[in-house]
Subunit: 407 residues, 2 copies
């Protein structure tokens, strides 16, 4: 081993717990509820290909040359229009195109977080967020959450603690990863009041908001800022086309105060300089052509059906033994089984039965609740859902047998 | 102003000195020697478009779904083959696809640099490198360079200084930005011996190497590692298709020891997760189709002609007053004018005459030599070169008049 002077967070590199499961996906018999991938069967390759060919034909130099770090003007305009449809008035200098919304969070971390800075994240949360914060040397503290999202009373107690002074608060308030939970309106308003009062940057990560199964999605924290004085400067909204159009395009965007955007632009200059302009113009063309609403409607119908099917199959297989709240959108169902105190003990049995899920522990910064599992209903077809749940039931039976034998 | 707790490097955000000049580019009468952009007139939009359409047709899900953070296997194989043509044997686990080669440097910084870490850069150097290091809080020290590249004696003195212990050394050894200089073979071998002896990571940034005007390009530091025992683990090679195919694709790659690549993958997971797979597959298809060598030959002929034309025009306009070394490749000519001690005083006159260049000061971390200017010959056509130099001569005459009047 060569003795490289790696930064502390990378001396013992830890990959994502989900990535660890990837190697099992090469088994063609495996049914996976593990990934956070949208269904490739739904991709509008034809519409995307047509948009791409058109912009390359019409504006080859703009597609292939370096572009502005802030993003292509055509895409920024299209995204401002999209945000207006979602109830948020956004100025051009409040919007930065990012290479996936994950990159927007990374820029925020670089802009606001130093080694030792306290950052509050709702728990459980998105593992890559935890990884980004660990890499930056942040002191990550968990804020508890339940089926109605972040516990704002607990948050307030942490904000009132003068020893903490967090640099950032991170939440996925709508159809959260991993829990599927949605923050209630009352909590949304309270959360905005808190960040205005305590003057702390709040990150609303919103990749799933458009995938609302039961009517229009709830108003985003960004849209609700209009109702809460002084909240808007503290709110950073991250969004993406990954879950609605296609993740492979890597098109995300950040909406924040111009002072924050200006710093994020500098972080982007030292990172990828600009998101590939050709893809930006392709996305702009696609949005302007008005194809997104129909595409989203197709996805919503498909995912809603999968959610219902998964919930019914779980109820049929596990009866009262399984506990979960039905997600109102997104891709994830978060469940716990009575008698399974540590879901990672269930995983090897599931792998033997050729079904994958993600044990809950990887989604925690601190608390490490062990019982829950994350099931994605986005990447499987109906028959796979049914068969996958049967396999899960067999895996649980195997674990029960081992537990009984050992206990 | 809202009092955000920005990290120290961003409290007073400083953009790139080149970016500052962008606003003048909207003037259609402006002739620019300022940008580091390749000529858009040369882009092979047809070949790129055909490759893109083919991979989307053949492998839509792979194009549009999330991809492996390390890069698409097809592109990694194509890049390993490209590096073999360039004289370097590279294993798959030594190669990471990046969203432009700038991103590779960014990952290295995240992997190896902490606030206060010493980093050595040849001076003058690429401004975005300086910006990335400043953002990371590095203690940047300049290593002098001349028309034969980095001064390896000066470097050795710094490496021997036990108080410095640099985490990284950064160089653009071939057709450097901004100087156009190329490190001699003797210095290359000595540099590799030094990093092997002092056990310090050396970054070879090689965006321009393929653009060699006078015969094949010099052997890269990476290729020369085969001749220097123990050097290879310390060498990180960054390369890109930006200057040979198209910058808008944002396809770069890093070649490094597997231990370093593994950490860079974690940095990429928290950044953009993966470089857009569709573009990766497009680039792989383009490379496999064998179109790159012809494209590079076209560019080399075009840029060589421009270099010659610019050099001749400068000599004709300024005679013995101008000093420069003829670059053997790349895009830049670095010049100084007798009687102009600070090129930033020439710039306003140049802007009045509607010609742009980049004053040399922005390329220095420390030394701040003021006399030189960087002229890019890549983005102008022949008539613009001639007219641009005439304007530059008029700007110099204006400055002379002011200097005389003031002195």
């Amino acid at each position: 081993m060569t003795a490289y002077p790696f930064v502390p967070a990378l001396r013992e590199p830890q990959g994502s717990p989900i990535r660890e499961l990837f190697r099992y996906l090469s088994d063609p018999e495996m049914i996976s509820f593990a990934g956070g991938y949208p269904s490739a069967a739904l991709f509008d390759a034809e519409g995307i290909g047509a948009a791409s060919a058109q912009v390359l034909r019409d504006r080859p130099a703009e597609c292939l040359q370096y572009g502005a770090t802030e993003g292509a003007p055509a895409l920024r305009s299209a995204l401002v229009a999209l945000m207006a449809e979602r109830g948020a008035v956004v100025a051009a200098d409040e919007l930065l195109v990012t290479t996936g919304s994950q990159q927007g969070f990374d820029f925020l971390v670089r802009t606001l977080v130093e080694p030792g800075s306290v950052v509050l994240v709702e728990e459980p949360t998105y593992p890559a967020t935890l990884q980004a914060l660990r890499l930056a040397g942040a002191d990550v503290r968990g804020v508890p959450a339940d089926h109605e999202g972040m516990d704002v009373d607990a948050l307030e107690a942490m904000l009132a603690d003068a020893t903490l002074r967090p640099r950032l608060i991170y939440t996925v308030p709508t159809f959260a990863n991993p829990t599927g939970a949605t923050l209630t309106l009352a909590r949304r308003l309270r959360l905005l009041e808190l960040v205005a009062r305590y003057r702390v940057v709040l990150v609303e990560d919103d990749p799933y908001g458009a995938l609302s199964f039961d009517g229009p999605p709830p108003a985003s924290l960004l849209a609700l800022c209009a109702q809460v004085p002084d909240a808007r400067p503290w709110l950073v909204h991250l969004a993406s086309l990954s879950k609605t159009l296609a993740p492979g395009l890597r098109i995300g965007w950040m909406i924040a105060a111009p002072e924050i955007v200006r710093r994020a632009v500098i972080a982007k200059q030292v990172s990828d300089l600009c998101t590939p302009p050709w893809i930006q113009l392709t996305a702009a063309q696609y949005l302007q052509a008005g194809r997104l609403p129909g595409q989203v409607a197709t996805e919503v119908a498909f995912y809603r059906d999968k959610r219902d099917r998964l919930a019914a199959a779980l109820r049929a297989a596990f009866g009262e033994r399984i506990r979960f709240a039905l997600p109102a959108g997104g891709m994830f169902l978060w469940a716990a089984l009575d008698g399974v105190d540590d879901a990672s003990t269930l995983l090897p049995h599931a792998i033997s039965e050729k079904v994958l899920f993600v044990p809950g522990t990887g989604f925690y910064a601190v608390r490490r609740a062990r019982a829950a599992i994350r099931l994605s209903f986005a990447g499987t077809d109906a028959a796979q859902v049914d068969e996958g749940v049967r396999r899960l039931a067999r895996a649980a039976a195997r674990l029960d047998a081992v537990t009984k034998a050992g206990g």
